[in-house]
C-alpha cells in the first residue's frame, strides 16, 4: 500500500486515498500514476514545444492531439475512479483549457487538416475541435452536433466535459446524449452539484456509463428524489453506504421506483424469502419487479420448493438460489427450478393476481368492518372459544 505522487506544473500533489481501495486496485493505481507521472512531465515539455513546432511540424499535429487526448483520459480515469474523497478536478480542467488555448491558435491548420465540417461560426469550430481534443471521433462530433433541439455550443461543451471528467468515455457519452437529449438542457450549476454528488457516492467511470445508459434521470431528477431513495435504502432497509453505491450502480432503475414500493420489495426479500443484505446486493435483487418476484417465489413456496427460513435461518429443504429463481428466463425457471409447466404457471399467475386484488380490497375496507365483526365474534363464543380463552 504505497503512495505515489505526481507533480504537476503548479506544484500541487495528487494523492491516492488508498485506504478505501483493495490492495490490488491500489497497486494498479500506483503503476498508472507512475507512468502518468512520466507522461505528465513529458507532456509539459510538449506544451511549450508544440506551440512552436506546430508551425513546423504540422503533419504530426494530429497524432499529438490524439496522444494528449488519451493522456487526458488517463488522467481523469486515474483521478476519479473509486475514491470517495474526490481528487481536485481542477487539474484536468486546466489541461482542457490549455488544449483549448492551444487549438485556437491553430485554427487555420485545423481547417487545412480536416475535411470541411458543415460551415458555421468560429464558435462552432471551436466546439468541434474541443470535442475532438476530448477524444471524440468525427462521427461522434457529427452526432453530437445533430442533436435536436440543438444546444448552445458552450452548453454542449460544458455538459460533455462534465461527463468526460466523471470518467465516462466519449463513445458512451455520445450514446447517452443522443438517447437523452434532455441532459443537454441542464443548468451547469445543477450539473456541477450532481457530478460531485455522484462522485461522492462513488459512481463514476464504467459504473456511471451503465447508469447513464439505463437511467439518465440520475442527472435530471431532483436531488430530493434521489435522496428519498437513498434514505429508504439507508434508513429503512439498513444497507451500508457501500452497499447503497453498489445498488445504485448495478440496479439504477431503483431510482425510478416509488420509495414505499422499494421498501416493500426489500421487506419481501428479507422476511418472506430470508434473503440477507449482501445477497440482495450481490444478486441485483432490487432490479426485478415485485410482481415477478412474488409470482415466482409464491409459486415455489406453494409447490413446497421454497421455505421461509426460521429464526435461526434454517430450512428443512435447500432453497433454490435467487439467481435460479429470478435471473433465469421463465422457461428455464419452470424446467430447472420449479419443475412445472408453463400452463400451470399461467393459471397460477392469474389466480395470484386475483388473490392480491382481493387482499388489498379487504385491507382497505377492513378497518371499517372490524367493529362489526368483533361483535359477531362475541356471539359465537361458546362454540369455538375454548382454546383462546384464558
Amino acid at each position: 500500500m504505497g503512495r505515489a505522487e505526481a507533480q504537476d506544473r503548479g506544484g500541487r500533489k495528487w494523492r491516492n486515498e488508498e485506504a478505501l481501495l483493495p490492495a490490488q486496485e491500489s497497486q494498479r493505481r500506483d503503476r498508472t500514476m507512475a507512468a502518468l507521472g512520466r507522461q505528465v512531465l513529458d507532456w509539459h515539455r510538449l506544451i511549450p514545444l508544440s506551440w512552436a513546432s506546430i508551425l513546423r511540424q504540422t503533419p504530426h499535429f494530429g497524432e499529438q492531439k490524439r496522444a494528449t487526448a488519451s493522456l487526458l483520459r488517463k488522467l481523469t480515469t486515474a483521478s476519479s475512479g473509486g475514491a470517495l474523497k474526490g481528487l481536485p478536478h481542477v487539474q484536468p480542467r486546466k489541461y482542457v483549457q490549455e488544449l483549448e488555448c492551444g487549438t485556437s491558435l491553430t485554427q487555420c491548420l485545423l481547417e487545412k487538416q480536416r475535411a470541411p465540417v458543415d460551415g458555421g461560426s468560429s464558435e462552432r469550430e471551436e466546439l468541434i475541435s474541443s470535442l475532438l481534443d476530448m477524444g471524440f471521433t468525427d462521427v461522434h462530433v457529427q452526432e453530437l452536433l445533430s442533436i435536436q433541439p440543438s444546444p448552445h455550443p458552450q452548453q454542449l461543451l460544458a455538459i460533455v466535459s462534465k461527463l468526460i471528467l466523471l470518467g465516462v468515455n466519449p463513445e458512451p457519452v455520445c450514446v447517452a446524449l443522443k438517447k437523452s437529449p434532455q441532459l443537454l438542457k441542464l443548468p451547469i450549476m445543477h450539473m456541477e452539484k450532481r457530478s460531485s454528488y455522484l462522485r461522492k457516492l462513488g459512481i463514476g467511470e464504467g459504473k456511471l456509463k451503465r447508469v447513464l445508459h439505463c437511467c439518465p434521470e440520475i442527472f435530471t431528477m431532483h436531488q430530493r428524489d434521489i435522496d428519498r431513495i437513498v434514505k429508504v435504502l439507508r434508513e429503512k432497509c439498513l444497507f451500508t453506504v457501500q452497499q447503497v453505491t453498489e445498488i445504485l450502480h448495478r440496479c439504477p432503475y431503483v431510482l425510478r421506483e416509488d420509495p414505499g414500493e422499494l421498501e416493500y420489495k426489500f421487506q419481501y426479500a428479507y422476511f418472506r424469502m430470508g434473503v440477507n443484505h449482501s445477497d440482495m446486493v450481490r444478486t441485483d435483487f432490487l432490479q426485478y419487479s415485485i410482481t415477478k418476484i412474488r409470482q415466482r417465489h409464491t409459486f415455489l413456496e406453494r409447490l413446497g420448493r421454497y421455505q421461509t427460513p426460521d429464526k435461526k435461518g434454517q430450512t428443512q429443504i435447500p432453497n433454490p438460489l435467487v439467481k435460479d429463481i429470478l435471473r433465469v428466463s421463465e422457461a428455464e425457471f419452470l424446467s430447472k427450478t420449479a419443475y412445472s409447466t408453463a400452463e400451470e404457471f399461467e393459471v397460477f399467475k392469474k389466480l395470484l393476481a386475483r388473490e392480491e386484488e382481493e387482499e388489498s380490497e379487504s385491507h382497505m375496507s377492513g378497518d371499517k368492518s372490524t367493529s362489526e365483526e368483533e361483535e359477531e365474534e362475541e356471539e359465537d363464543e361458546d362454540k369455538d372459544e375454548d382454546e383462546d380463552e384464558d
Binding site: K236, C237, L238, E263, Y264, Q267, Y268, Y270, F271, R272, F299, E301, R302, L303, G304, R305, T308, Y339, S340, E343, E344, E346, V347, F348, K350, L351, L352, R354, E355, E359, S362, G366, S369, E373, E374, E376, E377, K383, D384, E385, D386, E387, D388, E389, D390
Partner: protein, 384 residues
Amino acid sequence: MASLVVSGARHLLRRADFAKVLRRHRHKKKWAATEPKFPATRLALQNFDMTYGVQFGDLWPSIRVSLLSEQKYGALVNNFAACDHVSDELEQLHARDFVNKAHSHGELEPESGQTAAPSPASWACSPNLRCFTFTRGDVSRFPPARLGSLGVMDYYLMDAASLLPVLALGLQPGDTVLDLCAAPGGKTLALLQTDCCRNLAANDLSTSRTGRLHKVLHSYVPQDVRDKSRVRVTSWDGRKWGELEGDAYDRVLVDVPCTTDRHSLHEEENNIFQRSRKKERQMLPMLQVQLLAAGLLATKPGGYVVYSTCSLSHLQNEYVVQGAIELLANQYNIEVRVEDLTHFRKLFMDTFSFFPSCQVGELVIPNLLANFGPMYFCKMCRLT
C-alpha cells in the same frame, strides 16, 4: 433490526401464512397477545407434506400448489327451477356441461373388446344431471345463483368433482336411496335431481349440519317434489343403520366425514388438525369403516354402494374400503364386490385429473388447470 420489524413487516409476516384465512376466522385479537404460532392450517399442511409427499412422490408439488390456490367450482343446474335459459346463460359465459361432454365422449368411442365387458348397470351414470364448468385453464368464477320464477334457485355451486360419486352410483328410476352422511347437502341435492328416487333418506349425525341440509333442500327443491320423493331427513348415528334399516336400499351413498383436506388448509375454525382434536382425527379411519359397513348392511343384496371422501389419504380411502369389505365377510358372512370404474373414469378424463394408481376406486387429484377435488370414490356391489 427492530425498526425493520415494526415498519409494516408484521403485515408481511401475516401474509407469510401459506393458507388464506377468512378474516372472521383468524385468531381473536382481543385476547391473543401474538399471532398463533402454529395455526391448525399450518399443522394440516405439515401433516400433508409428510404423508402425501411419500404417497404421491413427484406428483405432490402440483397437488400441493393447487390445494393452496383457489378451487374451481361447477354449477349444478337445478332441474326443478324449470328454466331452460340457465344453460344458455352459462354457455354464454363459456362454461360447458361436463356430464354431457362425457356422454358424447363415451358414445364416440367404439366399445373395444375388453376381456370383461362391464355390465351396463355398473357403469351407467345417474341420469338428468347437468353441471357446468369452465374449461381447463379458465379461472373465471360463476356469478352467485339467483332465485328463479318457481321460488327456487337456478343452480347450485359446488366442487364439480363432488358430482362424480353421485354419477357413479348409477341411479335408476324407482330406486330407494340412502344418503348416510348427507350434510351439507350438495350430493343429496344431486340425488334428487336425477328424479329417480322413490324414497330418499338423508341422514347426518350433527344437528347443526342437518339444519344446513334443510336449507339447501328448501332453497332448491319445491315442496311437491320433496313430498313425491318422500325425502326424510334424520339426525341419527349412521353406524347403527345396519340394525335400523338393514337390507332396505337399492342405492346407498356413504360420503363419510374425513380430514376435508382442502378445507383444512384454509379454514381455521373447527379445524380437525387442531391439537385438541388429534384423537378424533386418529379415530377417523375406524369411524369410516363402521359407517361404510353400516351402509353396506343397509343395502339390499344386489344393490350398490358408493363410498366417497374428500381426502387424499390412503388410510381414509382404500384401506377403509378394504377394511369394511373384510369386516362384512368375517363378521356377517356377506360378500361384497368392488366395481371397476375404469370406463367411468375415461369418460371424465378431459375434465378432471385422476390419480393413475389407486388399488380400488378412483381419486380425483387437484391440478392448477382443473382445480377440483380431492375426491375419492369407490363403487361396490353387495352380492349376498
